[in-house]
């Protein structure tokens, strides 16, 4: 190594697998079981999450019911597993929808500029003036419609943030000499956007995806908490939290567990977003 110092720069590190950080491992340890629960649902739950046994009432955690039961005698632990579905599916759809549309519109607005950019940005400004949660409550509450209407609405309400972030990341790339060289070379706009700009805004895109997931999780479970969105009786973390408030003195786990799960999921995805941003932008870092 030292012989070539001064003669040539250190060889580019071979793209070997770098070790994951402790925080990333912890996040995955939280998120993977939740995704598994979302996929298999009640099939892997120890009890039927919908089975009522009013004779039991709200039990504190015990050997049979690990996290106790609610006032209708339903097993909290099983309901948490079943509730992973609405906690993952909707937010995942929202994140996919916003990331796809936001990235496409943001890239085009930055690269094309002109009227397209102006229209897109005025639209974004308008959406920014509307408090998203409030629009969601009123729209879902007044107009009716359930969980999936809320999902679609959330995509509309979240996409402006995506557009703005992707656009500004793409704008700073657009000014770089390599993009101008590509234009001078006569490469097609599609190739410049897709092959040259997109890889360099990918840290922003991936971060957006994860943070939109968090935002949608908080938004959708908040709606459920307010009694909007999912129908009553559904196993949903937000709804459980609302329903079980009355029995918090009998079985505290009935509220602590769903609250903790939502918070943990959101925190893990946020940490993952930070880590992903750092990692991806280091992979293509401009300066050493």
């Amino acid at each position: 190594m030292s012989q070539i110092a001064g003669q040539a720069p250190p060889a580019a590190a071979p793209r070997k697998r770098r070790r994951l950080g402790v925080s990333v491992v912890l996040c995955l340890a939280v998120l993977i079981p939740i995704v598994i629960s979302a996929v298999f649902g009640s099939a892997i739950a120890p009890h039927d999450p919908a089975l009522q046994d009013p004779t039991l009432g709200a039990l504190a955690p015990n050997g049979t019911y690990w996290l106790g039961t609610d006032d209708l005698g339903r097993d909290i632990f099983s309901r948490l597993i079943a509730g992973a579905y609405t906690a993952v599916a909707g937010p995942l759809l929202v994140a996919l929808g916003t990331t796809l549309t936001g990235t496409v519109i943001g890239l085009l607005a930055a690269y094309r500029g002109g009227w397209f950019d102006t229209v897109a940005m005025r639209g974004v400004d308008l959406m920014y003036a509307l408090p998203a949660m409030l629009v969601l409550i009123i729209a879902v509450g007044v107009l009716g419609g359930g969980y999936y209407v809320a999902v679609v609405l959330l995509i509309f309400l979240t996409v402006p943030t995506n557009i703005r972030l992707v656009r500004s990341a793409a704008l700073s790339q657009k000014e770089m000499a390599y993009v101008e060289s590509a234009r001078v070379m006569g490469l097609s706009p599609a190739r410049i956007i897709g092959v040259h700009i997109l890889p360099n805004v990918s840290p922003t895109v991936v971060t957006n995806f994860l943070l939109d997931f968090v935002g949608a999780l908080v938004g959708l479970s908040g709606l459920s908490f307010l009694g909007l969105g999912v129908p009553a009786g559904t196993a949903d973390w937000g709804l459980m939290l609302a329903e079980n408030r009355a029995i918090m003195d009998l079985n505290p786990m009935a509220i602590v567990a769903p609250a903790a799960l939502i918070t943990l999921t959101a925190t893990a995805a946020t940490v993952l977003a930070d880590a992903a941003y750092k990692r991806i932008s280091q992979a293509g870092a401009q300066r050493d």
């Binding site: 003036a129 007044v142 307010l226 408030r245 918070t263």
Partner: protein, 318 residues
């Protein structure tokens, strides 16, 4: 000159936004399932006379834009009609509940600023030290924890388990209000404080690495002056934007907090009215909230003219 133009542009944009917002709010009536007549009838028995009165009162036989115009001209005089559910004046309903929400919003902002400014500054100055790591991790948790989860946890720990704070209602009188609203304010402030801490930490880091900080030390300026005129003034500027966002967003945030803590404010009223499909009340609350957001944003922009010379002065070379 260009400051006036700047203010003028902002005012014009505000008017356009308000117009669009009011159109959306009014449109709720037409977009809701069920006929407007049925909605406005509420729980009252459906008699032909009453239906005719409602049609006349809300100009339901006129074209949509005329209906909007009538509604808007009333709305700017704070006349939103009566609740379809209780027949109470909408303005009276809002008036009764306004102070709880306003107090909660201001209390929340004060708590957020009191926690975030010292914590953010400390974390920024002591970057990488254990204190910074604790603060950063706390902010991460607080930013990820949804307000309703936090509310219920706070209620359980401090209300039920420790019994330090009341679990229901806002109490009577200011002192009792403040006592009762402490847990709700903390729940409301947690997310915004976390946001502020992250922002402040980042801008302190940015400012400390600036050449002007080194140059200030190189000239032997006192630490007091470097801290106040150099570090604080430059790194606290973005806090104004965030404070505006937080204040404007607290009405929306109050919905969940008030619902969790059983507070009779505008937020819990909104949920009730939404569930009852009480359109006049929902319209008024939506317009009020949206207008607050727009006006607070405008005030923040104007405040920057006062405190940031870069906004105040046109960017032309001398």
């Amino acid at each position: 000159m260009s400051i006036l133009a700047f203010i003028g542009r902002r005012l014009a944009a505000m008017v356009v936004l308000l117009a669009l917002l009011s159109l959306l709010c009014f449109g709720l009536l037409g977009l809701s399932p069920g006929s407007p007549e049925q909605l406005l009838l509420g729980t009252r028995p459906s008699t032909p006379e009453l239906r005719a009165t409602i049609r006349a009162e809300f100009h339901l036989d006129e074209p949509f834009l005329m209906q909007y115009w009538h509604w808007l001209t009333d709305a700017v005089r704070f006349d939103f009609g009566v609740s379809a559910h209780t027949q109470q004046e909408v303005t009276a309903i809002i008036g009764e509940r306004f102070h709880v929400t306003a107090l909660l919003a201001v209390y929340g902002l004060v708590v957020a600023l009191l926690v975030a400014i010292p914590a953010g500054l400390y974390a920024g100055v002591k970057q990488g030290k254990p204190g910074d790591q604790v603060i950063t991790f706390g902010a991460l948790l607080a930013i990820s924890a949804p307000a309703f989860a936090l509310s219920v946890l706070l209620l359980y720990v401090f209300g039920v388990a420790l019994n330090w704070f009341p679990v229901f209602g806002a109490g009577e009188g200011l002192a009792e209000n403040i006592y009762h609203l402490t847990l709700p304010a903390i729940a409301l402030a947690a997310g915004s404080a976390a946001l502020m801490i992250r922002q402040l930490r980042a801008s302190v880091l940015d400012v400390t690495n600036q050449d002007f900080m080194t140059f200030a030390r190189a000239r032997g300026l006192s630490p007091a002056r470097i801290w106040t005129v150099y570090l604080l003034r430059n790194s606290c500027l973005p806090m104004l934007t965030i404070s505006g966002l937080v204040l404007a967003g607290s009405l929306a945030g109050a919905v969940i907090i008030e619902q969790s803590f059983g507070l009779a404010g505008l937020g819990s009223q909104l949920i009730t009215s939404v569930q009852q499909l009480d359109i006049p009340v929902v319209q008024a609350l939506a317009l009020l909230t949206g207008a607050t957001v727009i006006i607070v944003n405008l005030l923040v922009d104007l405040a920057y003219i006062v405190i940031d010379p870069r906004v105040r002065h046109p960017r032309s070379a001398a």
